[in-house]
Symmetry: C2
Subunit: 427 residues, 2 copies
């Protein structure tokens, strides 16, 4: 493996045509990160073929034990967000450890991080050592202040519009949308900067704040403009889809189904499937409204919804699914994760993954399919699994160098054991 960090001159890219699902093969990234957003950025790029080396402090970062845990203490959360990376374990509290990481960053040429703790690993210091460095940093707030997805949710309006219409209190979303979008903005920003470097030779810093991602999205979806320009604040609408016809329905057997009629064709199909075409036509005539207008379907969502609720409530889920399945209507039954798990073996996104500490299970590959090829899931590393091979191959350290660093507590190998990986090539 070459130690030349210039991705344009990367050996691997030139030696053989990259497989289609790995268009980023040859890209070398050092990741210094915790929690969701930055690890997702690194994993997304790793799944597209980049060589992503995750730097762990001795013993691993705090998020390595985040719930859910297996019986043996392996974090399924950490494992899920670090698939396909390599990991090295370095004492970041020591100057020698930080210098090793700085050298690795310089040789790799790209850093993605959510930490500003160590100035030696920051953009300014690293750029001194490599002028074309790309440094991608996530902060909580733009001013460098801290924030996490749940506090950003609170700060940006959505929890007061989420949840049942009669909620007295804010409802946070369990899907950490701001972490996820921030992670993917990091990946996008990194690739944009790397494109610029390929064409011009110039590096740069890319900064993104978690709160900015949420605010930008609130603006992009029209919420901020509406709050400034409209006299009537938006109200909670439960599981109704704002501005069109969509809501959930209970079936006679306790099932529940989400139904969305976005277009006139969806709407006509829905009425035909539920036998309500004539009733709704009579209602439209009596009210003097045209339900082929999306806005009218939303304005009258409650009465239309009650008519449809009667139909759904009178039959079991299977019958409703069968009727909807014969239409163009957008719909899905609600599933629990247990129900979802039973469907994974048939899904081509999924493959069996043997994750040390967790056991074998179905795990997703990359959702990005390149020319019909999809990168399958690869295991997450153990903390320190690749310490020896990375420092040897990337920095040229000898077995004696590694032994001394190990004795001095500057580096550690997986599980704290003398590295069994010393003489192992990466598969």
């Amino acid at each position: 493996m070459s130690t030349d960090g210039n991705p344009a001159a990367e050996d691997e890219t030139r030696a053989e045509p990259p497989r289609r699902s790995r268009p980023l093969r040859g890209l070398r990234i050092v990741e210094l990160s915790t929690y969701v957003a930055t690890p997702l950025a690194g994993m997304t790029l790793a799944q597209l073929g980049a060589d992503v080396i995750r730097i762990e402090p001795i013993g691993g970062a705090p998020d390595r034990t985040r719930w859910p845990l297996t019986g043996s203490g392996t974090s399924l959360y950490w494992s899920g967000l670090n698939k396909g990376k390599r990991a090295i374990e370095v004492d970041l509290s020591s100057a020698r450890g930080r210098d090793l990481v700085a050298e690795l960053a310089v040789r790799s040429g790209i850093v993605v991080s959510n930490s500003e703790r160590h100035p030696e690993l920051g953009f300014e210091a690293l750029r001194e050592r490599r002028p074309d460095l790309i440094h991608v940093l996530l902060t909580g707030r733009r001013d460098g202040g801290t924030a996490v997805d749940y506090t950003v949710q609170a700060a940006t309006g959505f929890p007061l519009l989420t949840g049942p219409e009669d909620s007295a209190n804010p409802v946070n979303a369990v899907v950490p949308a701001w972490d996820l979008t921030a992670g993917l903005y990091l990946a996008t920003g990194l690739l944009a900067a790397e494109r610029h470097r390929l064409l011009t030779g110039e590096g740069q810093q890319v900064r993104i704040a978690l709160e900015d991602v949420a605010l930008a999205t609130a603006g992009n979806l029209g919420y901020l403009a509406e709050a400034q320009l409209s006299d009537t604040p938006r109200e909670r609408c439960g599981n109704h889809v704002y501005g069109t016809f969509g809501r959930d329905f209970a079936t006679a057997d306790g099932g529940r189904v989400m139904v969305v009629a976005l277009t006139v064709r969806h709407w006509r199909d829905l009425l035909a499937a539920t036998g309500l075409t004539e009733v709704v036509a009579a209602l439209a005539a009596a009210l003097g409204v045209d339900f082929t207008e999306e806005s009218e379907r939303y304005r009258h969502r409650r009465v239309l919804g009650e008519l449809l609720a009667g139909w759904f409530g009178a039959r079991p889920l299977a019958e409703a699914e069968s009727a909807l399945g014969a239409t163009r209507v957008l719909w899905s039954a609600y599933r629990s994760f247990a129900e979802l798990a039973a469907l994974l073996p048939a899904n081509p996104l999924m493959a069996r993954l043997v994750q040390p500490g967790a056991g074998e299970h179905w795990a997703p590959g990359s959702p990005v399919v390149m020319d019909g090829e999809q990168a399958p899931p690869e295991p997450a590393p153990l903390v320190g699994q690749h310490t020896a091979e990375v420092l040897r191959d990337r920095l040229g350290l000898s077995a004696a160098d590694l032994a001394k660093l190990r004795r001095d507590g500057v580096i550690r190998d997986a599980g704290g054991a003398p590295a069994a990986t010393d003489h192992t090539e990466r598969s």
Copy 2:
């Protein structure tokens, strides 16, 4: 403007060094899209400097009138998701119209779309005309079936874990997390494919399914592995943050604040600020647990939460904010969009935007800051605003060609008027 579609040979890139906030300057993208995900992909790339041309059918796509609307009928949603693009209006139901768009796609070299309606505009047909074409396609399901964010939410488990602990029913999130993440995966996949083309000359198709994005994320966050490997299904935990200490608290004056103590330091700070250090120490001793362990703080979240709830409930929001503001604790008061709107003028992410049909308001620039530079918001186009200039500059059509196409109903200009933009350069 050159009509050469090879981005690596793009005049603009070579003529002057791109401004740092526009690293994708020179990239030419044709967008054939509706709703959230694909427009967000295009806008994200436009905000990084790409020239994104949105193709509208005559009269505009259905989403151009999606709520919220201004009094004059302008969609703030559509405007928010199409900032900084150009737009042309073409009769896609006619072979001549489709051929114009195909030619534009071929000259531009990159297509991003969520439509498979017209085979002439699909990957196979366009690749025949340009072998190195990059075609990025979003579908609902992997098999090409339809789905939208709310039906994907239902299908993938999260609504049964969202909302108050005593909810009987699923709670959908108003933030369309799957639309947003899908849009950013599209942008990431597009840039990865374009990097591959820059290095090898090869184009390819990138396909992403909205449902796959949700499933992959459920796997990445550990939910799928947990459902397969754990005996105890995860339960709703309201506004508690799963696996750590975090929840919302009501204050004496009806305020509400989200508080997260992720680390031992956060936790100690929170106890000190609320005067509960000794009480919690006594509780820990009595229970025989160690609250410096994140897992223990989560397991005992209810009793710890009730102790803290007493403190928050006894004082007004301003006093709680002042106490928290002096600590490292992660927190934010919940804000409505009206409260948020009042804060926008002070936020450097925001700038005044004059949006035709909507009026002037504060709008977000790109959340991606490149070397300290941030792309400010640019107005969304009118449907057909750039019909004449794009067809003239990109396809070399003459004024007479344009007049004939206009007469024949194949193209239209903004508002259906003969294009005032005929002789206007893009600013």
